[in-house]
């Protein structure tokens, strides 16, 4: 079938996961034309990565996933072994910029023109060495490594009378993840913010090459600790799609239960931290207390506070019995009551609302232009959630029958992101109760038959936004390439825009209202 009236031929991916159509672009013009058509249809770029298939007789391969209204279009493009290059997509989707640069650093396939600055490569390896190429190990003595040679990075300079720069990080005054923020300011007013990330690059994608499916599941759960369920599920969905199996319904509902518990835990933490960043420490300690209770029940029921390794390809690693489900329902009632009280306090606190309102605003047009997903996109009024029915889109099971209600806010500022989080907490608590009382009797795990070759893409609406994992096998049943994609890729540039009309001391609050992952994009 064709999508968007473009010549690329698409086929629907098998399995019960989110709707994904896979297709192969004949040449780079077709890819570019499809990207332009996707942009015109209010689509977004969902992920972009490259891989090296030269050892299997091919060249290089570029994978682009576009988010369309009806689902995801996964377009791949074969590139020659010599001088692999493809057209710059950042002019169509600005969010592609960093993904393209990371792909260039890791695989060595670059855009024709456009921004050629390194992204993940901070000088820890030479510019002509690409870690994800299959001959990388032979070219460099890996154990010894390379001498660290940090290079200058061309930040965009802002000139003019009184304009100056404030460099912040990568080491911060608090114990948080590392990232560098370059502010160009006049007085307290932010003219421009440019981020530089990649300080947590740890070679996750390299580690995946040649791994078996079970080890891959463990690693997927450890890409970003706060989204372990989302990543594990996305990985499992990708493997299941590649192998052509579907987990039993009880397992799907248990996965949804874990994902919603993860969402509630993170939203509770964020709501507290947002109060703390406005110096309302009362809110912080109250929400942290609730989050702690929540995580302790996770620990008791799933043997892990963040529920790591509970979601595996083929189903779930554990099952919940009736007393456990009763404990979940009881906790939902108790926490729901307390969150309602705290929401009233937040809403009626004049000082807090003064900090939240109009701070760090972005509108829906900008969010669409930047391919934004998740909480930040819904806070601009977009109904964009992989769990929710919308015109032309049916969410994958189990969300199709759960009937998730969208949580949106038109304002686009910190207050809107707070409001969306509160609404999502209540909605998730409702879903948890619904799942806990209506769990069907069936097994929770099926065997995943080993598959030699195949591709799969998993899409899961994590608490931060859309988490994607693309998987391909190498012909021997091992993983040839796994690309985990965090929603933060698209949201970090949105943060640069959100802070632009604000003042320097409001940045931490705006940053916290997005609460993006460093580990998830540095990989």
């Amino acid at each position: 079938m064709q999508l968007l009236d473009e010549p690329i031929d698409f086929a629907r991916q098998e399995g019960v996961g989110a709707p994904v159509w896979t297709g192969r672009a004949a040449d780079s013009q077709e890819l570019q034309a499809f990207a332009i058509a996707a942009h015109r249809a209010d689509g977004r770029i969902a992920a972009l990565w490259g891989s090296d298939s030269r050892q299997r007789g091919g060249g290089f391969r570029l994978d682009c996933v576009f988010g369309l209204n009806e689902g995801h279009a996964w377009v791949s493009l074969d590139l020659p072994a010599e001088n692999p290059a493809y057209p710059d997509l950042a002019g169509i989707f600005p969010a592609a910029n960093r993904m393209q640069r990371a792909t260039c650093d890791l695989v060595g396939i670059a855009t024709e023109g456009g921004d050629r600055r390194p992204w993940l490569r901070h000088g820890a390896w030479p510019a002509d060495w690409y870690p994800l190429r299959h001959d990388a190990a032979q070219l460099a003595n890996e154990g010894a490594g390379f001498p660290n040679a940090p290079s200058d990075y061309d930040f965009v300079q802002v000139g003019g009378d009184g304009a100056h720069e404030i460099p912040v990080g990568p080491i911060h005054a608090g114990i948080i993840e590392p990232g560098h923020f370059r502010f160009s300011v006049i007085g307290e007013r932010v003219l421009r913010l440019e981020q530089r990330l990649g300080y947590q690059h740890k070679g996750v994608e390299k580690l995946y090459i040649g791994m078996n499916v079970a080890d891959g599941a463990r690693l997927a759960g450890r890409i970003s600790g706060d989204s372990t369920c989302a990543y594990a599920w996305a990985y499992a969905a990708a493997v299941e799609a590649a192998c052509g199996v579907s987990p039993p319904p009880r397992a799907l509902l248990l996965r949804a239960l874990m994902l919603e518990r993860e969402r509630v835990a993170n939203h509770l933490g964020d709501l507290g931290a947002l109060g703390n960043d406005a110096a309302l420490a009362f809110g912080f300690s109250q929400f942290m207390r609730l989050k702690e209770d929540w995580l302790r029940l996770n620990g008791a029921l799933f043997c892990h506070r963040f529920m790591m390794d509970s979601i595996v390809p083929g189903g779930t690693a554990l099952d919940l019995d009736a007393p456990a489900l009763a404990a979940i329902v009881e906790q939902c009632d108790a926490i729901g009551r307390e969150v309602k009280e705290l929401q009233k306090i937040y809403d009626e606190h004049a000082g807090l609302q003064d900090r939240f309102l109009t701070t760090g605003a972005i509108d829906a047009d900008l969010a669409r232009e930047l391919s934004l997903t998740g909480v930040a996109a819904r806070a601009t009024g977009m109904i964009l959630d992989a769990r929710i029915h919308r015109q032309g889109y049916t969410p994958p099971p189990p969300y199709a029958m759960l009937g998730v209600r969208p949580a949106t806010d038109e304002r686009g500022d910190v207050a809107a992101r707070v409001a969306v989080r509160f609404a999502e907490v209540f909605e998730s608590l409702r879903l948890l109760r619904e799942i806990a009382v209506g769990l069907p009797d069936s097994g929770v795990r099926i065997d995943v038959p080993p598959v030699a070759d195949g591709y799969g893409l998993g899409v899961i609406e994590g608490w931060r936004g859309e988490v994607l994992v693309g998987v391909s096998f190498d012909g021997d049943g091992r993983l040839a390439r796994v690309h985990p994609h965090d929603p933060s890729w698209q949201a970090w540039p949105a943060l640069e825009h959100a802070v632009m009309r604000d003042i320097v001391p409001d940045f931490p609050l705006i940053n916290k209202s997005f609460n993006l992952s460093y580990s998830g994009v540095d990989l």
Partner: protein, 317 residues
């Protein structure tokens, strides 16, 4: 100057040096309790000072001598301020050294040195903090002066000791002017001591800091002196507020018994004041930095109202 007065003065200074970290510890403890957290020990600030005095000093490469002696100047200013504010007794031999206007100047001197030292090493955070501190300072100082003028008009003197003596001696009549001045003074104290609606002493967010941003580069004994000076400043402001608006119980003249009695009275007043401070900090969020001028503008307005009420309604008393 008699021997008793001299001893009383020395005792007041020693007490300030000892009690100031305790007041900070008490406020921190109250804050923790009000936030449902288990509190740090009351003596935590002393442990911190002890630790910092034992640590080596790490100096930035570009640090000039100003950076090194600024902590001593700041500490010295705060000790002097504590010496001329009547805490236990109004019989202070050092009091003629500086009147209330000079007291504001002493606080200003400390501010200028700490802001200069912050800019000295050339980091962007130091400059940021120094700039913000001067913004707060130039708005807070006029309001503080107005408060002091109101009290000075009641006592016909700008000497702190005389003002407190007059106010403590008065018959129990309510001065509406003092109520306005008291509100203004409370506002100014929060801003000057980097407390919550204006600044957040507990923050780790370097971009939002005011006071903390200025002292980011300090370590070891320099940091200890600055932390101690911050405690002394809080103590000085608390004692000034207590002396101006709640002077009852303060010792007058050279009565040894009065001095002894004044100690528990002061301790109780400080404990109540500290708890109130923690309470106000807990229920408030920090204002946007460009709302701080509004906050201090309100303080100035209240101070001027106090002065006007004194001039128009209370006449010559």
């Amino acid at each position: 100057m008699n021997v008793f007065g001299f001893l009383g003065q020395m005792f007041a200074i020693a007490l300030a040096l000892l009690l100031a970290p305790l007041l900070t510890g008490w406020v921190n403890q109250c804050r923790a309790w009000l936030q449902n957290r288990s509190a740090p020990p009351l003596l935590q600030p002393y442990y911190m000072l002890h630790k910092l005095f034992l640590k080596d000093v790490v100096l930035a490469h570009g640090a000039s001598p100003l950076f090194r002696f600024a902590p001593f100047v700041v500490f010295g200013c705060m000790v002097l301020a504590c010496a001329i504010i009547p805490t236990l007794s109004t019989d202070l031999p050092l009091a003629p050294a500086a009147d209330t206007i000079a007291l504001v100047g002493v606080f200003g001197l400390a501010r200028i040195f700490i802001a200069l030292a912050a800019m000295d090493v050339g980091t962007s955070f130091g400059t940021l903090g120094g700039r913000r501190e001067m913004l707060i300072g130039f708005l807070a100082e006029p309001a503080l002066l107005m408060v002091i003028f109101t009290t000075a008009m009641i006592s016909q003197s700008t000497s702190v000791a005389t003002i407190v003596e007059t106010l403590a001696h008065r018959d129990f009549i309510i001065y509406p002017s003092l109520a306005f001045a008291g509100i203004a003074f409370t506002f100014v104290s929060f801003a000057e001591n980097a407390r919550v609606p204006v600044d957040n002493p507990a923050t780790h967010l370097e971009l939002t800091m005011i006071h903390e941003a200025m002292i980011l580069e300090y370590s070891g004994r320099h940091l200890a002196l600055i932390e101690w000076a911050a405690s002394l400043k809080l103590y000085a402001y608390s004692c000034l507020g207590l002396a101006l608006f709640f002077p009852w119980g303060i010792a007058e003249g050279d009565s040894f018994l009065g001095l002894l009695l004044a100690i528990p009275v002061l301790a109780i007043k400080l404990a109540i004041g500290g708890a109130l401070l923690a309470g106000i900090e807990t229920i408030n969020a920090k204002v946007r930095i460009f709302r701080a001028p509004e906050f201090l503008g309100t303080a100035f307005l209240f101070a001027v109202l106090g002065l006007l009420v004194r001039l128009l309604l209370e006449g010559r008393v």
